[in-house]
Symmetry: C2
DNA sequence: CTGAAAGTTTAGCATTGGCTAAACCTATTG
DNA sequence: CAATAGGTTTAGCCAATGCTAAACTTTCAG
């Protein structure tokens, strides 16, 4: 057995967290897109690609390409030069995103951070909180109110 | 002025959060790498690429490629077939990562989530908390203890 | 001191998510 | 009702992160 010997075992366990993060990242963009599209539909009656681009701060072309992937994933439907619609699955993901987003943002506010920071930080944190942590945040909020 | 008219103004403001997230993501991997390398050096005396790969749960080849970028960024030094060292800047980033990581993980525990969840969620959340939120978490911890 | 096992790097490929510039529609306006 | 301003998509580029398979080093066993 050449080379230094390696203590196997506990090392691999730690990779779980990093695997979860990589998985979170790949769903993160989709979550933000559908949530944003849902907001636009509720606010203005329709979601246009250029509105999505503006709010995300990316180029139109980027949105077009991403929407194609979301369409393949069954989250949105669209036709060229038309506004964007969410599928049933898209709406479900959007609602779930909103739910998480609200809890995280309200929680940060209750913790005492400014509105702007709560808004900004929650946009990133929302994708990395497990249901268990969300429950703990909700519990904290409930206790705070009472 | 053809096409539907667009209400300009407040729309662009919202892109700030998403820009921050995209920036966070591009530094996230570097932060995890240097923190992990620092841990390996402290634990075993040296950090080898394959240990990093094992803990992250990615292929060796991926680590090699990423380390090349980190080297270009001035965070690590290395020679072929040798273990990895952190530069001064690398150590600084690692220490800062550890600091954030500890606060977030301790905070989640104090909030009442399980150790495993705290470990996993903190690995993702740490990259999306502003200094203001970190201060609020530290404040909460201080209050809890007393 | 040498051969081969085991660890490490290279080569080559794929996907995601950005960008700009050019081509392409649509809808308003004259 | 046609021209065109202006919104939308396509084309083509790039960097970051993954992967597998093949080539390459290192180190220890004999
Ligand atoms: Mn959200
Ligand atoms: Mn978000
Ligand atoms: Mn960390
Ligand atoms: Mn991390």
């Amino acid at each position: 057995m050449p080379q230094r010997t390696k203590k196997p075992g506990a090392a691999k366990t730690r990779s779980v967290a990093f695997r979860r993060i990589r998985a979170d990242h790949s769903s993160e963009l989709a979550e933000d897109y559908v949530e944003l599209i849902a907001d636009l539909i509720d606010e203005k009656g329709e979601a246009r690609g250029s509105d999505v681009a503006m709010r995300l701060g990316v180029a139109n072309a980027t949105v077009v390409k991403t929407l194609k992937r979301l369409q393949d994933a069954g989250l949105v439907t669209q036709e060229p030069y038309r506004s964007i619609f969410l599928t049933g699955e898209g709406w479900k993901m959007a609602e779930d995103g909103r739910r998480k987003h609200k809890i995280v943002e309200a929680f940060l506010l209750a913790l005492g951070v400014s509105e702007e920071t709560a808004r900004i930080d929650s946009e990133g944190i929302e994708h990395h909180v497990s249901e268990e942590t969300l429950r703990a945040m909700a519990r904290f909020l409930a206790r705070k109110v009472m």
